[in-house]
Symmetry: C2
Subunit: 351 residues, 2 copies
């Protein structure tokens, strides 16, 4: 196995923490001595051991003189729950550190590497850097832009319709696609919808998967008018303390004031959400809110479920978001497509 093989292994390990590390990134670590893996570790959950420390605890022999592979730069800051990893690697007499990405967090960003080098540890970084970024796309985006990463979900017929003129809209896609949406929900910190979706569909906005024991995401409701149905699920169920309302007007019903955030515009809401450590949000609609996010250039990933049918008239997935020339059309990149029983999922990065 070479450097790349060991780093790929850190990706696999890192992924085991999926959905539990927010707002931390997914990180895996492999410790290699004399060509043999002597320990593996990963960041299990927020507040728990970092991957390097987890691996060190799992060592089958002394890590002195070993090489550690880790997908993200070891931390050097102390403003958190765990001691800085760079310091720990020095203490354990690690000989070499191989990294995919420097930590984009301004309080690390190369300083971890500097600390290691100053202690005489050999450091290689930038290997499989793109794959490393892909693994933690939300984390990298959020750290660099001080805004949460927005993943927009759309579901429509092949002619881009979500509902008939009559308003009939449920069950455009089949059970496999709907189940996959719950999987996606579980991989985000929060689900974002507009007030209209609450009024029309009264969704539960939770993760409903067989034997799911993971974290339930926050529900983040956007409203301009402040008019919301007081009896909606999201304001009354057992997760209602995880419901946040971003509103441009006073709310017309009784809800804990700490969960209501008065904002002037989406941009202000994005800053507030980042300050609350939201780095990865799943925007499920409706069309009007999705269009607003598109207009502000706030969408980083789109996943579109197509049911292979045609509706003709009715509700569009997106409205006019102010595009003035085809040359500037938002274009999906790094596209993946797959069939979920009878429905086609297309997912890609937007910017």
């Amino acid at each position: 196995m070479n450097n790349e093989d060991f780093l790929r292994k850190t990706f696999t390990l890192a992924t085991l923490g999926k959905g539990h590390t927010w707002p931390n990134p997914l990180v895996g670590a492999v410790i290699v001595k004399n060509g043999r893996i002597i320990a593996e570790g990963f960041h299990h959950k927020y507040g728990g051991d970092h991957a390097e420390v987890d691996a060190l605890k799992n060592c089958t022999e002394s890590p002195g003189g070993a090489t550690i592979y880790v997908n993200l730069e070891p931390c050097c800051h102390t403003n958190k729950h765990t001691p800085p990893c760079a310091q720990r690697l020095i203490l354990e007499k690690i000989k070499k550190v191989v990294i995919c990405n420097l930590d984009p967090n301004p309080s690390v960003n190369g300083q971890g590497v500097e600390l290691l080098k100053a202690a005489g540890i050999e450091v290689e970084h930038g290997i499989l850097a793109q794959l490393g970024e892909n693994l933690n796309e939300a984390f990298f985006h959020a750290q660099r832009n001080k805004k949460p990463f927005i993943h927009l979900k759309l579901a429509s017929s092949l002619d881009g319709k979500t509902a008939l003129p009559s308003g009939e809209s449920q069950w455009i896609t089949g059970p496999a696609a709907r189940n996959y949406v719950h999987q996606m929900r579980s991989e985000h910190q929060g689900i974002v919808v507009g007030a209209e979706t609450i009024r029309k569909d009264n969704p539960k906005l939770n993760v409903r998967l067989n034997q799911y024991s993971g974290i339930q995401p926050y529900r983040i409701i956007f409203t301009k008018s402040g008019k919301l149905p007081a009896d909606a699920h999201v304001f009354n169920d057992e997760l209602n303390h995880q419901t946040l309302i971003y509103t441009q007007n006073k709310i017309d019903f009784n809800f804990p004031s700490e969960n209501i955030i008065l904002i002037k515009n989406l941009s202000e809401a994005m800053s507030d959400l980042f300050d609350r450590k939201f780095i990865s949000l799943f925007l499920e609609g409706g069309s009007r809110l999705a269009t607003e996010f598109m207009r502000e250039g706030l969408v980083q990933r789109v996943s579109l479920f197509f049911n292979p049918s045609f509706l003709g008239g009715g509700q569009n997935t997106l409205g006019d978001f102010g595009l003035e020339a085809l040359a500037n059309k938002p274009q999906l990149k790094q596209i993946e497509s797959r069939w979920l029983e009878g429905d086609l999922l297309i997912s890609g990065r937007l910017n």
Copy 2:
């Protein structure tokens, strides 16, 4: 090789006639004697030898006592350019005939088989029947329904838009997709568009492929008002004798009267086109005409080119075609999808 293998070979041979046999189907034939192929043949073009006769002419030894494999029932009618094939097979002392499909043409439909059996020839049919139908889907549809098979082409962004609100619409898809459209044109007898498309885009509606020497399809223009731009390409180029106008009102410019067909509705036009032996038409738009065809349930295949981008507002691929309940939505079947460089093609049968 078994029966199915030999029949699959007839499909491959049949396909060599693609685009040249209209209104006849694609047919291939293989003659097998003592387990060895002694001849192959196919229907090259309309008016030429049928596949069986072509194969008989290619025999490397006497076909007496041999088995012939042919994807479609040998003909028995004499109202055409070539003598009936069933009679010919009897004369050549063929021992056995293996067929995928009976000919749906009411003037054959099992009578060819009866003629062969009456002459003591063993006949097997119904093998790989679905694949045989797929190969000649337009022919089967047209013969059964006395209407041409309509293949609708759509091209849009992922949110189902073909143009910006400004009307800017050219080049939604890339060069590979546009080249593929020319390939598709070459596989149909006629290209159908509405008057609006002629007015707005003034398309040439011909096949433009490198070193293409095949048949150029007819151009079939639908108009309600009869108002058409007299200087449009399709009325003035070297193929203008192949331009037909189906109109609900008198045409307001000078064009050969035999190319102008006054109709009351689409259904009347479909009957007239079938009477003129059009069995396979490629409907390229615009949105309004496509919507009319959808409303009347006249579309049998849809090929949709998606550019993986979003436009937001603007022109929809389809308008309201009168769908009243999601349960009745037209659903694509037998779907194939493929990437053409950066664009996604989804193609399937509609009904």
